[in-house]
């Protein structure tokens, strides 16, 4: 796919694709991206080729990967779904299989795109209307006869909800204050490691570096591992130590950087 991309003679298409990728942050999710891609088909959304669109989208994702652009998870979920849809559309329907046909799924996607497009146009029309305070105006001097002093207390729903949220948040965090006794601070971990490292000429496991009193209770251990791990990263960054890991999720080992 990357090769295809590189040898693509159609420069404008390529530019457009690159622009899409660079702009990926500008898209409001995969559906928005699909809608934008669908414009290249230059047909009524009701007659759109969902198969072509799926290809375009998958191509887009492949290019983004080739360019090492990280796509948010929902873009990848959509890619997986479109790959599935593509297979459903291309393969003859399996009479054994339950569930909706590829054509039904495609029709629904087309409906979603058309609906999103319609809502966008509706939003534009709405904002294009005359608006109060811009195109027409309310009375500029209401209550001209303000004399009486009847006090009316007011509060909005938002005030009410915020008040409740404030109360509940306070409750929610109360237990956290207790938890603090079981948190091994990052600063302590850093201090401890700095102390230990001069003696660690050999590879030592991260676990072995935890303070003894933090190794047993699971909660305390988790906190100690997290802080100590963060501290090893800091020391590695400073060039004080080296880190080694045999495999994903394998135990982490560290040692003093030779020559230090």
């Amino acid at each position: 796919m990357a090769d295809d991309f590189d040898t693509d003679s159609d420069i404008s298409t390529r530019r457009a694709a690159e622009a899409l990728i660079v702009d990926v942050d500008g898209f409001e999710g995969p559906l928005d991206l699909l809608l934008t891609l669908s414009r290249t088909q230059k047909v009524d959304l009701r007659r759109i080729s969902v198969l072509d669109l799926a290809e375009q989208y998958l191509g887009f994702v492949a290019q983004a990967r080739a360019l090492r652009i990280e796509l948010a998870a929902d873009y990848l979920v959509m890619a997986a779904w479109l790959a599935y849809l593509k297979s459903r559309l291309l393969l003859p329907p399996d009479p054994q299989e339950e569930g909706p046909t590829g054509a039904e799924l495609a029709a629904h996607l087309a409906f979603q795109l058309e609906r999103l497009q319609a809502m966008r146009e509706a939003a534009a029309r709405l904002m294009g209307r005359d608006q109060k305070g811009r195109d027409f105006f309310a009375r500029g001097a209401p209550d001209t006869l303000s004399v009486a002093r009847k006090t009316q207390y007011d509060a909005s729903l938002l005030d009410l909800m915020r008040a409740y949220a404030r109360l509940r948040t306070r409750d929610e965090f109360r237990p956290y204050a207790f938890d603090r006794t079981d948190i091994y601070p990052y600063e302590a971990a850093l201090e401890r490691l700095k102390h230990l490292m001069p003696g660690a000429a050999e590879w030592t496991s991260l676990q072995a570096c935890l303070p003894a009193e933090w190794r047993n209770a699971p909660g305390r251990k988790r906190s100690a591992i997290a802080s100590t791990f963060a501290a090893t990263l800091e020391l590695a960054k400073q060039g004080e130590i080296e880190l080694r890991q045999a495999d994903t999720f394998a135990p982490l080992h560290l040692r003093r950087r030779p020559g230090q």
Partner: protein
């Protein structure tokens, strides 16, 4: 006997027990007296609406008028009177308001209020709520294909353009959102039925809540009914 209108005369004499209502046409005096003639009712409503920056409902107007008035009728007259003028009488949901004519907006530069610019997400969310109301957050997300970000709903609530509707009777009983009178007022709409292009969208089936194929319809039929009622309440007739 001519009664001078006097704001402070709550304790005024009640013309004797027998003369409560029988058209003792007496302009400008509150309750207890005969019903004011239509032209006078029109004046009163004109004054009431003039003094208020916010739309007033028929009930609110009625509450301020002497008993026996027919504000609905007087409002028809008043509306006709202001047609084509620099100020117009608008209907906003169940309420009424006087507003400057939209073609003269350019004269009001100094009154113009700069509204916070809404994000694209907020504008689309607003449109979806307006066209699909009552609508849940999940439905908004389904239509936009993306999560509704923190603060978007908050912002629309704060502008008083949307409010909470009835909870949906589905599992989780999600809250729904609907647009407010403030929304109608801001965009000069008489009702949500007057949203631009509503009819076309509905005819094109784009306002249907169409579940994705494979998901066996909606969670339960009760809900489907509920939905249909919500929509038809708003958009039918």
């Amino acid at each position: 006997m001519t009664q001078t209108s006097d704001p402070e005369t709550h304790g005024r004499e009640t013309d004797g027990p027998e003369t409560h209502r029988p058209n003792s046409a007496d302009p400008g005096s509150p309750s207890l007296f005969g019903v004011p003639p239509m032209a006078e009712q029109e004046r009163m409503i004109e004054a009431i609406l003039f003094a208020s920056a916010d739309p007033l409902s028929l009930a609110q107007i009625t509450a301020r008028l002497p008993q026996g008035c027919d504000p609905a009728q007087a409002l028809v007259h008043l509306r006709a009177r202001y047609t084509g003028r620099g100020v117009n009488l608008l209907r906003v949901g169940d309420a009424y308001a006087l507003r400057t004519a939209p073609d003269l907006g350019w004269l009001m530069q100094s009154e113009r209020v700069e509204t916070r610019k809404l994000s694209r997400a907020a504008i689309e969310t607003l449109a979806i709520i307006a066209y699909h109301q009552p609508v849940t957050r999940a439905e908004i997300e389904e239509i936009r294909g993306v999560a509704v970000s923190r603060g978007t709903i908050d912002q629309l609530l704060e502008l008083d353009w949307i409010r909470l509707g009835r909870r949906r009777m589905t599992p989780g009983r999600p809250v729904t959102f609907v647009v407010t009178e403030g929304f109608l007022d801001h965009f000069g709409l008489e009702s949500a039925r007057d949203l631009p292009g509503l009819k076309e969208l509905r005819e094109a089936g784009l306002l249907d809540s169409r579940p994705p194929p494979g998901q066996t319809g909606l969670p339960d039929d009760e809900d489907a009914d509920d939905d249909a009622r919500g929509q038809s309440e708003l958009f039918e007739d």
